[in-house]
């Protein structure tokens, strides 16, 4: 099967087979991470720019590590020290990068649609490293990879995504992709953070975590985005924790060897208890390792072959 995309903006325009191709390629990339010499010549001479307009530790370092292992050169464009502070627009910044013949731009931005805007303007490939409340496709793909490593396939598996669904680009991308892969997805959260519009994703929604737990193969806790909770969307952290916080006791109700995922960073004691986060069921650290492998696969698929062809 052939990869035909210039960009990776969301999972809605990827087929199940294309997602499987990413996961298969990532498996090969993962082997490289455990070698004594973690360096490939594959992307020698290719240049990648990281444009992160929002804070990020793991996603940015994960992309940077992935690109460097593949042998590409990475330019870190840090917003604080850049011309953005002088009022340069996103488009002008991007055009500057294009003039430097950058092959791939990885962008994180607080505005939904920022990556798509950039992708339309640039000849270079674009990977969405998270845009507003819209999508975070590489996080979803690394979640799928982590699940696939455990399960082999997605058919018949039940995945709960719990927490602040409204603000979560991770939840959106996960729901879209898991549905394509054939898993059953349930989005769970308090009514204020799980508005009825979420039904557009075509998956089940519920306000009651306890009733959905039996039979769940994976439970993904979302970070409660405290910075976005100024407007009183729920009464108190304590109540939120009691109803939607994951604990060992709650997870025991699944009756299965359930795996626990979290995109990080963790608010320990809020959406997930500390002992659960550090338990054997938790695959949170594996997610980080797998993130590098999945991003290597994507970068390879986007710019590893023939030069980017404008669609």
């Amino acid at each position: 099967m052939r990869w035909r995309h210039k960009d990776l903006l969301d999972l809605d325009n990827l087929s199940a087979q294309e997602i499987e191709l990413v996961l298969q390629s990532a498996l090969s990339m993962k082997e490289v991470l455990f070698r004594p010499i973690k360096k490939l010549p594959t992307l020698r001479g290719k240049s990648i720019a990281l444009m992160f307009y929002e804070n990020s530790t793991r996603t940015r370092t994960s992309f940077e590590t992935a690109a460097k292992i593949l042998g590409a050169d990475v330019t870190n464009f840090s917003v604080a020290q850049s011309s953005v502070n002088k009022g340069e627009s996103l488009l002008d910044t991007a055009k500057t990068l294009q003039a430097m013949n950058i092959d791939l731009v990885i962008i994180r931005h607080a505005c939904s649609g920022a990556s798509e805007f950039l992708a339309k303007q640039l000849k270079a490939g674009v990977i969405n490293g998270g845009d507003g409340q819209h999508a975070h496709p590489t996080q979803a793909l690394l979640d799928f990879f982590t699940m696939k490593e455990r399960w082999g396939e997605f058919k018949g598996k039940k995945v709960l995504i719990v927490g602040d669904i409204l603000h979560s680009r991770v939840a959106h991308s996960n729901a879209l992709g898991l549905k394509k892969l054939g898993a059953e997805v349930v989005l769970i959260g308090p009514p204020t953070l799980l508005p009825p519009e979420m039904s557009y994703l075509g998956v089940k929604t519920s306000y009651d975590l306890d009733s959905e737990l039996p039979g769940a193969d994976a439970v993904m806790a979302l970070r409660l985005q405290l910075e976005r909770q100024q407007s009183g969307l729920f009464p108190s952290l304590r109540e939120y924790n009691r109803l939607y916080g994951l604990t060992r006791e709650k997870i025991a109700k699944t009756g299965k060897d359930t795996i626990i995922l979290h995109p990080g960073p963790l608010n320990r004691g809020v959406e997930i208890s500390s002992d659960l986060a550090d338990s054997v069921q938790s695959v949170i650290e594996e997610q980080v390792t797998n993130g590098v492998a999945v991003r290597m696969a994507l970068i390879y698929l986007l710019i590893g072959g023939t030069s980017n062809v404008m669609a």
Binding site: R2, L21, S28, M29, I37, L40, P41, L70, G305, T306
Partner: protein
């Protein structure tokens, strides 16, 4: 791809079996035993060939050599030139090659570029003491200074021709064909 017409059969199943037998003996003879030897097959068709050599050597020396699989896609020098991007497969070398004598196995030796990529890939896994190359077919037309240590059969070809190695583990037949 355009359909190629088989010109003639270079090797049948018996021919392949005898060539593998001879190569297996030569490997043991040249290295004065099996000590320190490891086999690494280059994906795709080097892998079943390496497995067969492993089985032969087990037969007559009673030693099972470690066997690894190498995918060289990430080391190719023509990634930006080929039209269809190759799918990468897993490299599986579940042992250290540090200080070993590595027998690299492939089906056809042609330009030498695959072997060049394989050498780079191997050296990224560690520092073997020696690397030797075993191929079923050497068809000439080298573009790099590379030669095989063990050859099943030398076939002079024109560069318009194609050598097709079919192995029962992967293909539906067991033969080597010259196509035009």
């Amino acid at each position: 791809m355009t359909k190629r017409i088989p010109k003639h059969k270079i090797m049948d199943a018996d021919g392949i079996r005898r060539a593998i037998n001879r190569i297996s003996h030569e490997i043991v003879e040249k290295n004065k035993g099996t000590e320190n030897l490891v086999l690494i097959g280059i994906r795709t068709r080097g892998v079943p060939l390496a497995e067969r050599i492993q089985a032969r050597i087990l037969d007559f020396e009673n030693v099972k050599l470690p066997l690894g699989l190498l995918d060289i896609t990430l080391y190719r020098d023509d990634l930006s030139m080929i039209d269809v991007q190759p799918v990468i497969h897993e490299t599986k070398v579940p042992f250290s090659i540090e200080g070993k004598t590595v027998i690299l196995v492939d089906d056809v030796l042609y330009t030498g570029r695959t072997v060049r990529a394989a050498l780079d890939a191997l050296i990224d896994l560690g520092r073997p003491q020696k690397i030797q190359l075993a191929v079923l077919i050497d068809r000439g037309h080298r573009e790099l200074p590379i030669r095989a240590d063990y050859v099943g059969k030398n076939i002079p070809t024109s560069s318009r021709e194609i050598i097709s190695v079919c192995l029962s583990e992967i293909d539906n037949s067991e033969e080597v064909l010259l196509l035009e």
